[in-house]
Symmetry: D2
Subunit: 179 residues, 4 copies
């Protein structure tokens, strides 16, 4: 149980209701790609979570999660970053609310190439420079900082599920990274 | 009844369930600001809907609506544009899925300045050039094409509800419009 | 000689002066990546020029060129598109002046990975949907429409000079294209 | 004389040659709008320079300047920020090279609404969060931090020359600021 971010909105769905809603409504998500920048702003590293799936397989993933009822996108980003990377990460939220891409996950294959067994999620994806120390707080999580070259390597790309590896490519392209 | 866009997803919520969900989950919306461009791409006109509220007041609004379960953002945009502007509008959907802004509507006042009595909506807002003829198909709707100056005039700005007038300002700023 | 777009600015540099300026000032460029979109706005094809270099080698390139003194970016885009793709291309210039990326070409290798022997060029790169018929007007040019997969294939990527192949990757990433 | 940023490129133009080039070629500029963000990334203040013109009038302006030959945009941004705001400003350069707008200044009135007596400048404009202490280093300069409301007030807007006040509006719109 997460004791640090108590539910500020008692109007939320129960687990059962959320399960039902997920089968009938698109969910609003935010996704954060943590990066380290050099003094000129060029990306030097990208932070990827490494997480065990239910079947015990290790997969790469992003800081990610649902936007709650009555929660702003910025508050959801800060909440999920703190949950996954700890309270000392010091994320620099961008001045603009425009995401670098909108990722649409569907329960079955679609035009978007992105899948999520559990739901249809519309995910606003942001590149977030981190100034502090990132320390994953949950036992199942590991954070690894990779260079852009490493993050794009076939080995790492194969460790993503549901087409998420493409988001790394999109993020690096958005940052003007050349390879 | 809309006979042209039959429901492709029978898993949708009933009216009652949708009413409940709206009180507990953020809804995913798309918003379209129709524009006319001159041959160089400069905006010449912006299309605003004029619609009677339940209390009989006439208000300005945008082409707007919910994204359905298992529907892509692009399909939702095309569906709502056709519903509000007719089948001959010939919208030019942009090559990128990135909106010009993300508008967050809350049932009560918040940081975002945008309100919607019915729900918490996260709305992806797009500028959509129209090449064809726009003819609102629903009796309650009227479409007016305004110059940027007219759309920003205090008279017109006062005809928006819930802070939506600001989206016109953001759209025109995004297009580099000078005044 | 191009008789269709006579010089509206007699204050331009002579060839000699331009040669000198190119060794001392960054040049302002525009670059256009022509695309074909399906009715929902998803990219189906990307148009690449195929051009012989001075040494006779065939190279892929983009619609590209200098912004003249007192010329707007939009006017320069239209001028170069017409010069390279003919008068019936019917380009749809975007409503926003913001490029999908800014490409910095240097006469020698640099952080940006982009090179141009002739000059330091700061190039504003735009994705431009084409609605008409594109027919290259200059003998040395050929236009080929490639699918995103083809444009990203190693064979095609190797036919770009100066790192330009990366711009194709950046453009497709910006359009949310998944592979 | 600026002893801190010595000329790394001896190939630059002399004053006379630069004067000539400015009458015949567009110049590449960068412009920085310094901002203070709250912990969630919402803009709280925008930094404007206050500078005496040749005729002694006080005008608002931005951190701004030319991109040198063989200089990257990021290096030019850092150089001009340090020159105008001092070495302790701690600017956070954005991960993406894409500006929030491209401002085109012409020596005479044009579609863009922006003028600059001296030249035709194509200016890439960036919003730059500042984490440190900004202290203008040149005698003629003063820096004032204004709230978004103050920066948009008619009094302040009238203190901009050449249409630059509109860039403040565009920047605030890009940041999703509501008024």
């Amino acid at each position: 149980m997460n004791v640090r971010t108590p539910d500020p909105n008692p109007g939320w769905l129960s687990s059962e209701d959320l399960y039902e809603a997920r089968r009938r409504l698109p969910m609003v998500y935010v996704e954060a790609l943590p990066v380290r920048l050099d003094p000129l702003g060029y990306v030097s590293e990208i932070g990827l979570l490494y997480q065990a799936t239910d079947s015990g397989q290790m997969m790469r993933t992003f800081v990610s999660g649902r936007v709650h009822y009555r929660e702003t996108i910025r508050a959801a980003l800060v909440r999920h970053i703190e949950k996954d990377l700890g309270p000392m990460a010091m994320p620099q939220l961008p001045p603009s609310p425009v995401p670098f891409t909108v990722a649409e996950y569907f329960p079955s294959p679609s035009e978007t190439g992105l899948t999520d067994d559990r739901q249809h999620a519309v995910s606003l994806a942001y590149i977030i420079p981190m100034r502090g120390e990132c320390s994953p707080r949950q036992d199942a999580l590991e954070l690894t900082w990779l260079t852009p070259e490493e993050a794009l390597s076939p080995t790492v790309q194969e460790e993503f599920a549901g087409g998420r590896g493409n988001l790394v490519r999109q993020a690096l392209a958005h940052m003007g990274w050349y390879h």
